[in-house]
């Protein structure tokens, strides 16, 4: 053991210190990889945790809840049928969950909880903040009274008795603060953006008289199963009973594809860092072959050699991962900001703030960092253990081995590509494209393995080209790279991976954007759109139905299309139901149906059959097609509707069932609207009509009025916001790859010191040596760029036609974002050459006699 400690100190740790720069680059690479992984994981975790915590606190002691499955609300008369719950030792309380916007000073969307203030204390006990206690406990039952959370009250300087104007749907209502909740518990959920009011007040201001949208139940644990079963049997159509956690599970389910894809992307930086680790460890082994040989000759067993190198990797892995954890926690705040808007807009309807630094998530990222470091170090470690005592010569042996092996690697690549091809044809596993991601990884790995062979061929072509452009230095640079084929291959492969991922994603996003752009151009045909303010952040916000009638009177308005949409559950999965005016659709709509059938034809058929149309993601998720039926669990029983057509739509990955108002009215009582689309007379001026609308609605109605162009731009803005974080992830992956290039260049410079020394003796200037290293950097950048582009295009096919399709069910038309690709190409070239500056300076400073004496 003492011997091992001696070797550890003098062989392993001293080497790390002596090669500080190389160790630092590797540690930096691991750090960035782990940081990104952790930041994304923490952001994902926080988004879900915040939702779950809010559900937990708002649910309080509730262990069962009754919800409408495919409607906005339920009739409160159902409460009269639940008295038997008392006999089971349980309680129940009606709830109306809505949203409001603080009309002044903007704090975004507020969650409004309307509860029965008489009986709800059993479900959601809360405490008053200091000075927040109501003057009169019964005042909450007065008109327009509410309780606020402490933070919100503090932010706005509210006290008991203060007035608070709230924008509820399309009207401003004046409320009076009747009490202020203490900072913890209920007062802190939704980031403090919770307002509590008596259910009767909520029903009035939201125009939900006699209706509620949830019933919370507390049932003794030993009776839970029986009560749940009895409720399931006796509840009327359109209602379901479930545990409150299920809402968290549903959100987790909705977020899964988004989060898993983001997580897969966050692994790229670490994957690229693995090449860096492999490279560093290989160099470490190659440079010390004579030492290993000597140690072996002195009787050091193979396993001890392996242990020494593994420990070297472990030290770098642990240091890099620890630093990565620190940076990751900092970056998580940025990542949360990056995903918050997407998560809020598309999934949970609530903002994500702060970072929930979960020890489990942090530890997982740390161990993944250390684990992958050791995994990447394994091949060089085995290489070290295989050094024969008599074989302790230098690099030449490693490089000749690379040449020997490189002949066999294409066979392995072909096998990997065949596997990738097979995997790309496999179905998703529980909605996640596991095989699609595996196919990407196998494809990339296949290309990384043929890299030595490809480079050998390319160097032959490149040499005369570089000689032509850069003279002897150009040719010598190519020869230098060729002489270190193993190292060059790893550097180019790591850059290839990072660039390929960026290119493939850029092509996918570019194609997706182009597809959405065309879809928006074709599908958004109405001239003016009217929605409640903040509807983009919360789709439950509504317009008063009477507005529609007023708008129809305005001169220049040809057609009014009232529409409504709300989340439903379909086959146990979240989905959306939308209602529209099919008569208007038939005349003015321009939906693009999968089978190319004209909109008018499909819609007229749907009007006749009183059927439905569905979006492509819905069809994909539920395996439903044209001619099949969809079954809606409505308040008035099951509605079986014939699917008359499936159309392209990119508004929601959960998909939509769209039905005409006539069908809706047969099964539903709610008459609220999500928005109104207006089609103007030919020649009517949209700006003039818009002014007329503002006048017609009067000062009391607060709505968003958008022109067709405005809405089209808005859709693309939300699209860009959703994908902003993916670009950030790729910038970091490329940074790690550039670190790889720098590392490779340092190594090449260190290993070429003898050559530089000779060149100095025979008359090479420092400038010529600097130029050679910069050319090498440029050649590495160029090769990585081209390889990355080629592999990137292949991956983009997998992304578009397999991964994205299986995750979201969208058909995307292939398009190439040429601008972005050219910019990325140039940026990488410049960065690669810049990364060569320091190694070039180092090379130019080579002291010729000293290196020749050493060598």
């Amino acid at each position: 053991m003492a011997g091992f400690r001696f070797l550890l100190r003098n062989f392993t740790l001293r080497s790390l210190l002596r090669n500080r720069l190389r160790s630092a680059l590797t540690v930096l690479g691991i750090m960035l990889g782990v940081a990104i992984l952790l930041a994304i994981n923490l952001a994902n975790h926080t988004a879900l945790e915040r939702f779950r915590q809010s559900v937990d606190i708002v649910s309080g002691q509730t262990n069962l809840e009754i919800l409408p499955t495919a409607a906005v609300a339920m009739d409160e008369v159902i409460l009269a049928d639940l008295h038997w719950i008392w006999d089971e030792g349980g309680t129940y309380a009606p709830v109306l969950v809505q949203t409001a916007v603080a009309a002044e000073g903007g704090r975004g969307i507020m969650q409004v909880l309307g509860v029965d203030m008489v009986s709800d204390y059993r479900h959601r006990p809360f405490q008053w903040a200091d000075g927040g206690e109501p003057d009169d406990p019964l005042s909450i039952f007065n008109r327009n009274r509410l309780y606020t959370g402490y933070e919100f009250a503090k932010d706005r300087g509210l006290r008991v008795g203060s007035t608070l104007p709230l924008l509820i749907n399309d009207r401003v209502h004046e409320f009076t603060v009747a009490g202020i909740l203490a900072q913890g518990g209920l007062g802190a959920v939704y980031d403090g953006n919770l307002l509590l009011m008596d259910i009767s007040t909520a029903q009035v201001v939201y125009d939900f008289r006699g209706r509620i949208n949830r019933i919370d139940l507390i049932v003794p644990d030993d009776r839970l199963a029986e009560v749940k079963a009895r409720l399931a049997d006796t509840l009327p159509d359109g209602l379901t009973v479930q545990s409150p956690e299920r809402r968290g599970q549903q959100v987790a389910k909705m977020l899964r594809a988004f989060q898993l894809n983001l997580m897969a992307l966050s692994f790229i930086a670490l994957l690229v860092a693995m090449f860096l680790i492999y490279n560093t460890m290989s160099i470490s082994v190659i440079r010390r072959r004579p030492e290993i040989g000597t140690l072996r000759a002195l009787g050091t067993p193979r396993r001890r050699i392996m242990a020494l190198f593994l420990l070297e990797a472990l030290v770098q892995g642990v240091v890099g991962s620890l630093l990565g954890v620190g940076l990751g926690i900092l970056l998580a705040f940025q990542a949360v900001e990056g995903v918050s808007a997407t998560v809020e807009t598309l999934y949970t309807g609530m903002p994500v703030t702060g970072v929930d630094v979960s020890a489990a998530v942090v530890l997982r990222a740390f161990f993944i960092g250390v684990g992958l470091t050791l995994l990447a170090a394994l091949p060089p470690v085995f290489e070290a253990a295989s050094v024969h005592p008599a074989e302790a010569t230098r690099r030449a042996q490693f490089e000749s081995r690379i040449l020997q092996v490189s002949g066999k690697l294409p066979l392995v690549s072909i096998i990997l590509w065949a596997l990738a091809f097979w995997a790309s044809g496999q179905p998703p596993v529980e909605g996640f494209p596991v095989f699609g991601h595996a196919a990407s990884l196998l494809t990339v790995l296949g290309f990384a393995l043929v890299m030595p062979l490809v480079l050998m061929a390319l160097f032959r072509v490149l040499r005369p080209v570089m000689r032509f452009f850069f003279g002897a230095e150009g040719a010598l640079s190519v020869e230098n790279l060729k002489g270190s084929l193993g190292r060059t291959s790893v550097a180019v492969a790591s850059l290839m991976v990072a660039i390929a991922m960026t290119v493939s994603l850029a092509v996918m996003i570019g194609s997706f954007r182009e597809t959405v752009k065309v879809w928006v151009q074709q599908s958004i045909t109405a001239d003016i759109w009217i929605e409640p303010l903040w509807r983009k952040l919360n789709t439950s916000r509504r317009l008063s139905p009477e507005i529609s009638g007023r708008l129809a009177q305005i001169e220049g308005v040809a057609f009014v299309d009232d529409f409504l949409e709300f989340p439903i559950e379909y086959g146990g999965d979240p989905a959306n139901l939308a209602v529209g005016d099919f008569d208007v659709f038939a005349q003015k709509g321009n939906l693009i149906f999968l089978d190319g059938e004209p909109t008018r034809q499909v819609i007229e058929r749907a009007i006749c059959s009183q059927g439905a149309i569905i979006t492509e993601p819905f069809a994909y998720r539920h395996g439903i097609g044209k001619g099949d039926t969809v079954t809606l669990d409505t308040p008035r029983g099951e509605a079986e509707l014939l699917v008359e057509g499936v159309y392209y739509d990119y508004a929601s990955e959960l998909g939509y069932i769209v039905i005409p108002w006539t069908v809706y009215h047969q099964y539903y009582e709610d008459h609220s609207l999500s928005g109104i689309a207006l089609y103007l007379d030919e020649g009517a001026d949209a700006a003039v009509v818009r002014r007329e609308i503002v006048d017609a609605l009067g000062g009391e109605t607060r709505v968003s009025i958008m022109t067709r162009q405005g809405l089209r731009e808005e859709v693309l803005r939300v699209f860009d916001e959703t994908f902003a974080i993916t670009y950030a992830l790729h910038v970091i992956s490329i940074t790690v790859a550039i670190l790889g290039i720098m590392n490779a260049l340092f190594t090449l410079v260190l290993e070429s010191r003898r050559e530089f020394g000779i060149l100095k003796y025979i008359g090479a200037t420092a400038g010529q040596i600097r130029k050679m290293v910069l050319i090498e950097a440029g050649v590495l950048g160029l090769l990585g760029n081209f390889a990355g582009l080629a592999v990137g295009f292949l991956l983009s096919f997998l992304l578009i036609y397999v991964i994205n399709r299986q995750s979201f069910g969208w058909t995307i038309q292939f398009a190439v974002p040429l601008d972005f690709l050219v910019q990325t190409f140039l940026l990488i070239m410049v960065t690669a050459i810049l990364s060569g500056l320091f190694p070039a300076r180092l090379a130019a400073k080579t002291v010729a006699p000293a290196v020749l004496r050493e060598e």
């Binding site: 002897a472 003898r754 020394g757 025979i762 420092a766 010729a848 006699p849």
Partner: protein, 233 residues
């Protein structure tokens, strides 16, 4: 000896402060054009350091070195590089060929780095140089396929391709058997005579030193004696 020596060393010293070593200590020596001088002495006596100082690879701590009357101390690094490129050829003990280049490419390097010679001229002179060292048929070979003696002949061809005034050879036979060593020294001597080149040779080998006109014996960085070899080759 002529009045204007090709190489003139005046009280040249080289001290490595970090190691507190006087590698070369107050050496004065004048070498005429076309003269062949061998530096002999044990390892570490300062022979190689002296060659590096003369070649402008290193700068003396004290004293002056003149080449063709030009004080090397007055030249910038760039001018020293130009000087090496145009007027000096190096031959090393371990040949120092670039393994990734062919024999012809190795020989052509000094001209390629100079960049002012046409491709046709480079080809012609490489051919000449290789013929001169009797390796015309090995032009396309890589160094790893040559014997030690052949590699040293390639190194000599590389050292003379740009027709330098001065050849600096550091233990050129140190890595060769005696027969190959003799042949390399015969070749070097022959080429120097033919081109009227000045040769400064650092060696352990008495056999190699016998090819010189004078032998300077060195010890602890100093020249402790100069002799004319008996039975000069």
């Amino acid at each position: 000896m002529t009045a204007d020596p090709k190489i003139q060393l005046e009280n040249v010293s080289k001290r490595y402060e970090a190691h507190d070593v006087h590698a070369v200590n107050d050496v004065s020596l004048a070498i005429a054009a076309g003269e062949r001088v061998a530096l002999m002495g044990p390892s570490g006596c300062g022979k190689s350091t002296l060659l590096n100082l003369v070649g402008g690879i290193d700068r003396p701590s004290a004293g002056k070195i003149r080449l063709n009357g030009q004080d090397l101390g007055q030249l910038s690094d760039r001018q020293l590089t130009d000087l090496r490129r145009e007027r000096i050829g190096f031959v090393f003990q371990f040949f120092n060929l670039l393994s990734t280049l062919t024999v012809a490419e190795n020989v052509a390097l000094p001209l390629e780095l100079a960049g002012n010679v046409s491709a046709a001229e480079v080809r012609r002179r490489v051919g000449e140089a290789l013929e001169a060292v009797e390796l015309g048929d090995r032009a396309a070979f890589y160094p790893s396929l040559l014997s030690g003696g052949q590699m040293q002949r390639v190194a000599i061809a590389r050292a003379i391709i740009h027709r330098p005034d001065v050849l600096l050879a550091d233990e050129p036979t140190g890595n060769l058997d005696s027969e190959n060593g003799r042949r390399v020294m015969d070749l070097l001597t022959h080429l120097c005579r033919e081109g009227n080149q000045t040769l400064l040779l650092a060696t352990h080998s008495e056999g190699a030193a016998r090819h010189a006109d004078r032998i300077a014996h060195m010890k602890d960085g100093k020249i402790v004696g100069i002799e004319t070899p008996v039975g000069q080759v």
